[in-house]
């Protein structure tokens, strides 16, 4: 009987605590930013460790081959593999650097050190924070197009809300016919343009760019490509499903746009 009472009290305490957390959103937000920031060194370490594992994985395979063949050619192959990994990284960074010079805005490169642990929201954790000059609502992009915007800033890390998150709205234009709409994130790593006029001739394959409204995203940056156009029952507008210009779950480096 006493145990039963204790259990009920525990359940009530835990559930009330969870509800209180939801209700005290501004205080909780502040605590979250600071707590998330303290995890940055750990995330950076894990990130470097994963990079290290990625580097040594081909070696393990080659070492195995070397043991079997005991041949000098295999040694050379291993060296070539090693060089290739470094070349790939170089090419990626050079690409980012060239792109940085090409865009008409000042930008700050950042490395992705973590991803959203929840299935419900799409975000990235980057290794730049207030100490590096990151500011709220800064646009974030990659060499292939828009990525998202900064929503939470710690001292040494920040969270980027991706364009595939349902809470992010972006004003967009269909490049071919210059018709506008509002793009929101959608489950399944896709975006959805809502409020497309009923007489619009938008069709699959059309490129979508940012409209530049709202002052967060610069105008004319590639967002993605229309996959499907349709009309939901009872709505006065068409919608379009957009495939982002890149796979946002595999991003490693991004640029924060300073405007």
């Amino acid at each position: 009987m006493r145990n039963q009472k204790k259990r009920i009290v525990k359940i009530l305490v835990v559930l009330s605590a969870a509800i209180l957390i939801i209700l005290s959103s501004s205080a909780a937000r502040l605590i979250r930013i600071n707590l998330a920031d303290t995890s940055t060194p750990l995330l950076k370490t894990v990130h470097s460790f994963l990079g290290f594992l990625e580097d040594i994985a081909p070696f393990a395979v080659l070492r195995e081959e070397n043991r079997i063949l005991r041949d000098r050619i295999d040694l050379l192959t291993r060296m070539a593999e090693e060089g290739q990994a470094i070349n790939d990284e170089n090419a990626r960074l050079r690409n980012l650097l060239d792109f940085r010079k090409m865009i008409p805005y000042a930008s700050m490169p950042a490395q992705v050190i973590g991803r959203d642990p929840s299935n419900w929201s799409n975000s990235l954790i980057i290794d730049k924070g207030a100490a590096n000059g990151v500011k709220q609502n800064m646009a974030v992009m990659s060499t292939r197009g828009i990525v998202g915007r900064i929503v939470e800033i710690g001292k040494y890390s920040s969270k980027v809300l991706l364009i595939t998150d349902p809470n992010l709205k972006v004003g967009v234009l269909i490049r071919r016919n210059r018709q506008g709409g509002v793009m929101v994130g959608r489950p399944g790593d896709r975006c959805k343009i809502i409020y497309i006029a009923l007489d619009s001739d938008a069709k699959p394959g059309d490129k979508v760019i940012t409209a530049g409204f709202g002052g967060v995203f610069p105008k004319g940056i590639l967002v993605g490509e229309i996959e499907k156009v349709g009309k939901e029952e009872g709505r006065l507008y068409k919608y379009a499903i957009v495939k982002p210009s890149q796979d946002l779950s595999k991003l490693e480096e991004v640029l924060c746009i300073i405007r």
């Binding site: 990130h47 973590g114 399944g188």
Partner: protein, 171 residues
């Protein structure tokens, strides 16, 4: 009668799974769905160690998720705590040692968690331009299915770690 489990091992497993969720889980996405290892742990501890442990594991897992996510703060804490408690309360009704039952239970409780999350989320954030069917077929069902498939590999490891495998004479 439930087995005892140390809090330290629960928090250690939760931390390890959080690091997995933050770093590599995105690389194993199938049809844009990713498995939820933390939810899997909450279901496991609720199923084999009872409602009280399930509730505590769910609360801790949800809080960790909320800290590192951009989701509405507290929503994972609440929904995972409720899921852990529900799993624990209902667990005596199932023959949970069977792999097939385990998969079915993980699928069912993953659906429960995601639907609860959807309901709380729609009360708080009021996103109206994404329909329920888009969430259901684009996220809820694929993620629940994937999580239940992953349980086939993770549950046996955890069961052997906590000596929960059924003795041969009972089979």
């Amino acid at each position: 009668m439930y087995h005892k489990v140390s809090r330290f091992s629960i928090y250690l497993l939760l931390s390890a799974s959080l690091i997995l969720q933050l770093t590599v889980i995105d690389y194993i996405k199938i049809f844009n769905a990713k498995p939820d290892i933390m939810l899997l742990l909450v279901i496991f501890f609720g199923l084999f160690f009872g409602g009280s442990v399930g509730l505590e594991t769910g609360f801790a897992a949800g809080l960790l998720k909320d800290i590192l996510s951009v989701d509405i703060f507290g929503i994972n804490t609440l929904t995972l705590a409720i899921t852990g408690l529900t799993v624990g309360i209902l667990s005596p009704k199932f023959f949970k040692e069977s792999r097939i039952t385990q998969m079915a239970l993980v699928f069912a409780f993953a659906l429960f968690f995601m639907l609860a999350h959807y309901i709380f989320n729609s009360f708080i954030s009021k996103i109206t331009y994404i329909s329920f069917s888009e969430y259901l077929f684009g996220l809820i069902i694929p993620a629940s299915l994937y999580t239940s498939f992953i349980s086939v590999t993770i549950f046996p490891i955890l069961m052997s770690r906590y000596h929960l495998e059924e003795k041969e004479e009972f089979l």
